[in-house]
């Protein structure tokens, strides 16, 4: 076993994902603590391009193969396991994204090491790795200790600063020969469909009203739509409402939707699950209305109202209308 840290870098067509910098930053810290080196793992035909952005790593490992184009879970896991099984790193860091959800548990089974999911903090105490996960929609934290000093960690996006993983420096590049089994992958990546064109780009708005499950019924949507109309901004929603077909996908804020940074973000009837918070926590001012005083949304909001949205929202709409004449 070594104290080395390996970061699985994510990219689409050569553009590195922001979350990979968060992992590289944490990886740098862990490598220092455990006296090892930081390695970045970049797979795909564009690996060399992406490696240029991984200056924070001591070594960037590149594997170029057509089976690694786009994202086939099986091909990526096969290749990563082939690289890591003989190197026995202390930490393998993966982000808790769609790709990471496919990679982290499978890699842990292949390498016969534990995996911790939804990780928001990592510490090394007397040689033992302690990872803290956010579970139950962010309401409960669980501190897990890993025996054996090795782990695959799946990290929540936004939990670690990206700045620490950005470096103008250039580490060494190591090119690895693709694994022989890649040709036999049972999962074939076909193509990437770009997001549908939409009437409005919610990532470019100064103010947003977003509604969550607290609205209860589709028939209640006019209550919040009227506020959005009065404020002259689009109405957005959390995942469950979009899945139910109440609002279009282009209006979904969060991990699997759009990341937004407006000046003002009004969260109405939203509990504040980590998947949602990830997409809006960088708004300048966050105002939350929720009837549950313990809703996690109040932990990220700057201003909170603990009340029935059906009382407060119409009253606010009325006030805004009065002012706008």
């Amino acid at each position: 076993m070594t104290g080395d840290v390996y970061v699985v870098v994510e990219h689409w067509n050569g553009t590195i994902a922001e979350v990979s910098f968060e992992l590289l930053g944490l990886g740098r810290q862990l490598a220092q603590a455990s006296g090892g080196k930081l390695h970045a793992l970049v797979l795909g035909p564009e690996a060399k391009e992406v490696a240029a952005a991984c200056g924070a790593a001591d070594v960037t490992i590149c594997v170029e193969h057509d089976a690694l184009a786009g994202f086939s879970p099986e091909a990526h896991i096969t290749q990563l396991a082939a690289i890591l099984k003989d190197r026995s790193p202390a930490f393998t860091l993966v982000s808790n994204t769609s790709k990471g959800m496919d990679v982290a548990p499978a890699l842990a089974v292949a390498l016969k090491v534990p995996v911790v999911t939804n990780v928001a903090a990592v510490a090394v105490n007397d040689g033992a790795i302690v990872a803290t996960s956010q579970l139950y929609g962010g309401k409960i934290a669980v501190e897990a200790e890993l025996a054996g000093g090795r782990a695959v960690l799946s990290l929540l996006a936004g939990a670690f600063p990206a700045d620490h993983g950005k470096s103008a420096g250039a580490g060494a590049i190591e090119t690895v020969v693709p694994a022989a089994q890649l040709g036999g992958s049972r999962v074939a990546f076909k193509r990437l469909i770009e997001a549908e064109a939409s009437d409005v780009d919610i990532s470019k708005q100064e103010i947003l009203v977003t509604v969550g499950r607290g609205i209860q019924d589709k028939d209640n949507l006019p209550v919040v739509q009227e506020l959005a109309d009065a404020l002259g901004c689009p109405l957005c929603a959390s995942r469950p409402l979009v899945d139910a077909g109440w609002l279009p996908k282009s209006r979904q804020v969060g991990k699997s939707g759009v990341t937004v940074k407006p000046k003002i973000y009004l969260a109405i009837g939203l509990s504040g699950a980590p998947e949602h918070v990830q997409g809006m926590k960088d708004a300048t001012t966050i105002i939350a209305v929720n009837s549950d005083p313990k809703a996690p949304i109040f932990d990220v909001a700057h201003f909170g109202v603990v009340a029935d949205l059906f009382d407060v929202v119409p009253a606010l709409t009325e006030k805004v209308r009065e002012l706008r004449g």
């Binding site: 959800m101 999911t117 939804n118 139950y136 054996g148 999962v187 003002i264 109040f298």
Partner: protein, 256 residues
């Protein structure tokens, strides 16, 4: 085509969660459980596939909480078979490896072509069930699936990525798919139909052996996270709150 749908009962987050006396789990006494919302989506997608191409659907769940009602409801919605896994699940709650091993042996016995289950649950500490299950079975898998079409020996699936990107993949069967969302909202099972199943339908049972090899994790502490800063709470009548909110909006850059 035989589709197996594992359903997991997990805490309803509408309820307040407490930490147990030992501080190593949530307090599960009297806890309100529900079928994990992603598993509901997986069952719906399985039933849609059955309607589209005539598959057989088997719903399975581990014997805790309201397992019987979960299975009768699945039958009422249109599942062909319902199977309850019986055994000691006391160490399974925060250990998905153990649950996945029990599911893997069950899936092997049932001879499934496809497993559809929720991409995650609200209590995934040691990896998500579909990927662990696939890794243990040696089957291919895709997570965060939002659309499935079946041919004789493969599934065409849509995988959702952040930023509104969707990938199309082809997966050879047998496979495990972690479902994010079904093609339509999960159907509702009328109470009368569930009752009818409770009277007439049969639940199968399968004993699963205790699973020794778990997650390899030791839970040191379970706690409610302390937050550095909380929102400034605005109080008053609806009218007063609205006035305060308006003041905040104007101060923070809303031009009216």
């Amino acid at each position: 085509m035989h589709i197996v749908v594992p359903l997991k009962q997990s805490p309803d987050l509408v309820e307040e969660l407490e930490v147990n006396a030992e501080g190593n789990d949530i307090d599960r006494q009297g806890l309100k459980l529900q079928v994990s919302e992603w598993d509901e989506q997986a069952l719906e997608e399985a039933l849609c596939l059955k309607e589209a191409s005539g598959a057989n659907v088997t719903a399975i769940t581990a014997d805790w909480g309201g397992a019987d009602l979960v299975l009768f409801t699945a039958l009422a919605k249109g599942a062909d078979r319902a199977l309850k896994l019986v055994g000691d699940f006391s160490t399974t709650m925060l250990d998905n490896h153990r649950l996945a091993r029990a599911l893997a042996s069950t899936v092997e016995q049932l001879g499934a072509n496809l497993v559809l289950t929720g991409v995650q649950s609200v209590e995934d500490l040691d990896g998500q069930i579909p990927v662990l299950l696939a890794a243990m079975l040696g089957w291919p898998h895709v997570s965060v699936v939002t659309g499935v079409e079946l041919t004789a020996d493969a599934a065409q699936v849509k995988q959702e990525h952040s930023g509104g990107l969707v990938a199309e993949l082809e997966v050879k069967l047998p496979a495990v798919l972690g479902v994010q969302a079904a093609r339509r909202a999960p159907r509702y099972a009328p109470v009368s139909k569930v009752r009818q199943m409770q009277k007439g339908a049969k639940l199968e049972q399968l004993s699963v052996a205790a699973q020794d090899a778990g997650s390899g994790l030791k839970v040191r502490r379970v706690f409610k996270p302390q937050v550095a800063a909380r929102a400034e709470i605005l109080e008053g009548t609806a009218e007063e709150i609205a006035a305060k909110l308006l003041a905040v909006l104007r101060e923070r850059g809303l031009s009216l």
